[in-house]
């Protein structure tokens, strides 16, 4: 009895033995452990001590008291405190010799805790979409749990077998893999844990995690059990993230951006492949600490970049900088670096993650650009062509020295002006018209010859090229003007034109002269021919013969005179500057007056002379003498018959010239009629026998030969005024 009592006491089951009055005869320790607080149960009534139990237990006990051998069940029970409890029981009747019920053995397990765990597991399996399955190889059956069926999207009454199960896996890699794993497990007892794709009954492709284990009995596989989890969301996210990170890797790779991560706590610096390329080192030569990086930085940049790292870590300043690194082969490369700091909740820096890239080529290109801009600026400033940047409104924004020189303004003055203000008014319209065509996009550039007004009021002739400059958006921002000063060219052209005009005029007068000479020579020759013929013929009377002889004399002397004039004219040639002498007018005038004193009708004339003192001219003595002689004798010859001659001679120096005028009160010449002929050869205007029409022609030529000129004012019956203009000495 002691033994049985000991066995009962130690049994790991909660057992209570009751007599047929349901009073406790004995309990196991496990019972006492399970129902703590119930002590000294022996002799006490079970229903009284354990009234808060599911009713079913008492019903089963009652059955057993009435002779039923065994009752067992399990149930969920809400006790009086409202707690949900699970009980599982097994009630047996205990019979004596006469088969009457002696007592009851009750095994009552409080399964609440394990049941709760089971429920939690199920719940969690549901949430985690984990189903389970079991293959009984002996019976050839396959069991799928509810979730497994749900994952396969099959109805609850679906009966799978091993083959249909495997066929749910996607054809190809997934199905091949699971077939092999299952076969291996059956053959060798191996287990598996893999992620594959199935195609559900509805045709959806779903990623699952399949875990399986084989159960071996005597080296033979009898069962396969496992779980089946829907990991589609995670897997797809994972795949997407993999694609994304691959893409990033590709991007950083092709952009040659190096990514690094520096663990501040561990002093562990991790570089990606690009970093090694950027720093020109191999992975094996880099020991992955901060100092390894620092040692690659150019000596001149080391202190600054180290400080910038510290500033980034302290949060003072973002890490966004550049520095030079020295490659093992000595090459110097320019690196751009950016980084962010990862911190914990308390703001303690944990990691620094950043990117580096090599911008050496970019920098070189920028340097070159800067240099070319600089040289362009140099070209602008030093160009001998005038250059200006001009705003759309015409304001000079920038001008070079050359333009300032051409226009006679200082830079400061020009920058206050618009081109409109300094453009010759007659040229403004043309310029603005073309400029507006550039503004309207009809043309990009134009060239014109135009005139600017210099600061001193003189005209600057320029050749202008205007080009529109567009901003990044393609809108016109300003103009570049190139201004070539062609004033000197224009002046040279003008000089050439003048020279040409002079030559043409001289040519013309030379031809004219040739015809006049020819005319006069021929007229004398014709007369001589005619008279000679008369003299040798008998056409004429004796009286006429005498007359003819006289005329022969006249014609001959006429011919002589003409030849003499011709000589005089031919002798008047343009005199070069160095042949011009300084002559005192008064001296020459006095000599001339002295020479012709006999011709002057003193009793019938008055003459006044008023010369500035020391009036000196540039000239040829003989010419000046001849000119003065001619003008004075003309005044005498063509004096008015009705009144005494009054001749006034005045001389003055003025602005590099010497003016000498001869004013008389003689016959005068009708200038409206003869104006352009008065200085012509053999032009006479009075019926005066002495008029030869050669004097003024020669006078004019002599004056022009000395670089001077002659002009006349006159009115009929009143008198004439000849004005000589000499170069002053």
């Amino acid at each position: 009895m002691v033994l049985t009592q000991t066995i009962l006491k130690r049994t790991p089951l909660p057992i209570a033995i009751l007599d047929n009055n349901l009073k406790f005869l004995a309990t196991s320790d496990k019972w006492l452990e399970q129902f703590q607080g119930q002590k000294d149960l022996l002799g006490k009534s079970f229903p009284e001590c354990f009234h808060d139990l599911p009713e079913e237990i008492f019903i089963d006990i009652q059955y057993c008291l009435e002779g039923v051998e065994q009752r067992s069940d399990a149930t969920r029970y809400i006790n009086k405190n409202g707690d949900a409890l699970w009980y599982e029981w097994d009630v047996n009747s205990w019979l004596n010799e006469d088969d009457s019920v002696e007592g009851i053995i009750v095994i009552l397990k409080d399964r609440t805790l394990s049941q709760r765990n089971r429920l939690l597991l199920e719940k969690s399996q549901q949430v985690a979409r984990i189903g389970h399955w079991e293959v009984n190889l002996l019976e050839g059956t396959l069991y799928w749990s509810k979730i497994t069926r749900e994952i396969h999207e099959v109805p609850e009454d679906f009966q799978p077998n091993l083959e249909t199960g495997i066929n749910f896996y996607k054809e190809g890699h997934s199905r091949d893999t699971i077939s092999e794993l299952v076969n291996n497990a059956i053959a060798t007892g191996s287990s598996w844990d893999t992620e594959l794709q199935i195609v559900t009954k509805n045709g959806r492709e779903v990623w699952v995690r399949a875990i399986g284990e084989a159960e071996m009995v005597d080296g033979q596989c009898v069962r396969l059990i496992g779980t089946f989890q829907d990991i589609d969301k995670r897997k797809k996210a994972e795949i997407n993230s993999k694609i994304a990170s691959e893409r990033l890797a590709q991007a950083t790779n092709s952009a040659e951006i190096g990514i690094w991560e520096y663990d501040l706590v561990q002093n562990d610096l991790v570089w990606d492949d690009n970093m090694y390329k950027i720093y020109g080192v191999s992975e094996s030569d880099f020991n992955g600490v901060y100092e390894a990086w620092e040692s690659t930085v150019h000596a001149e940049d080391k202190a600054r970049s180290a400080e910038e790292v510290q500033q980034a870590i302290s949060g003072e300043k973002e890490f966004n900088t550049h520095f030079r690194v020295v490659w093992p082969d000595g090459q110097i490369r320019w690196i751009r670096g950016m980084a962010t700091i990862l911190r914990d909740e308390e703001g303690i820096p944990l990691k620094m993650i950043g990117a580096n890239w090599d911008f050496t080529e970019l920098r070189n290109a920028q340097m070159k650009l800067a240099q070319s801009e600089e040289s362009l600026q140099g070209a602008f400033e030093n160009s001998r062509v005038g250059m200006a940047l001009v705003s759309k409104e015409g304001v000079f924004m920038q001008v070079n020295e050359s333009l300032c020189t051409s226009l006679g303004y200082t830079q400061e003055e020009l920058l206050q002006l618009t081109f409109q203000e300094i453009t010759h008014p007659d040229d403004l319209e043309t310029d603005l018209k073309l400029l507006n065509e550039v503004i309207d996009g009809k043309r990009n550039t134009y060239q014109i010859e135009k005139r600017y007004l210099r600061k001193d009021g003189q005209i600057a002739y320029i050749y202008l090229t205007v080009t529109g400059v567009k901003d990044i958006d393609g809108n016109l921002s300003h103009f570049i003007s190139q201004i070539i000063d062609i004033s000197s060219r224009i002046a040279a052209e003008q000089k050439l034109k003048n020279l040409f005009d002079l030559t043409s005029k001289q040519n013309e007068s030379l031809l004219n002269f040739a015809h006049i000479v020819s005319h006069n020579l021929r007229s004398h020759a014709a007369n001589l021919t005619m008279i000679t013929e008369f003299l040798v013929s008998d056409k004429i009377t004796e009286d006429e013969r005498d007359n003819a002889k006289e005329m022969l004399q006249t014609a001959t002397s006429g011919l002589n005179e003409t030849i003499q004039h011709l000589n005089e004219v031919v002798q008047v040639q343009v005199v070069s500057e160095e042949d011009l002498k300084t002559l005192e007018l008064e001296v020459i005038l006095k000599k001339v007056l002295n020479d012709i004193d006999a011709l002057i009708p003193h009793e019938d004339s008055s003459m006044s002379i008023d010369l500035d003192t020391q009036l000196e001219v540039k000239g040829v003595n003989a010419y000046v003498e001849s000119v003065l002689l001619n003008l004075i004798t003309n005044a005498i010859k063509y004096r008015h018959p009705d009144r005494p001659l009054k001749l006034s001679i005045k001389g003055s120096a003025n602005n590099g010239k010497v003016m000498l005028s001869f004013t008389d009160n003689g016959l005068g010449i009708d200038l409206n009629k003869y104006g352009n002929k008065i200085f012509g050869m053999y032009k006479t205007f009075h019926r005066n026998k002495d008029a030869k029409g050669i004097g003024l022609f020669i006078t004019k030529n002599q004056m022009e030969a000395m670089g001077g000129s002659i002009r006349v004012n006159s009115s009929v019956e009143k008198g004439s005024e000849f004005i000589l203009e000499f170069k002053a000495a």
Partner: protein, 133 residues
Amino acid sequence: MAVFQTACIIDDDQIYQFGMKILLREVDFSEEILIYQDGQEAIDALQERLSSGDTLPPVIFLDLNMPIKDGWEFLDDFVQIPQRDREQVNIYVISSSINPSDEDRARKYEVVSNYIVKPITSEKLLEIIAQHQ
């Protein structure tokens, strides 16, 4: 009997006038010879003839280079005379000038019959007579 009633010489050259008179007489050119020293004198005299009811001379020998009013100016004045008073007039320009521009210019005047380069000869006068017979 002379070919023309009147011939007119307009020239300032005395020798020419003298020679011309002899030649005109030689070929019996005209009954009467009018001589003017320059264009002004000539145009004044011709106007005078018209206003006194006389006709204009049918032949005028005109020099170009003269003082006061030269041959061109005379021509310009002459063409101002009404057409009916001058339609019988033939003007011969007699000049020493061999300048082609002078000849061209002279021929532009409708009233100018010919341009004759000095010296004038009796043969040239006979040609003029022939043209009018």
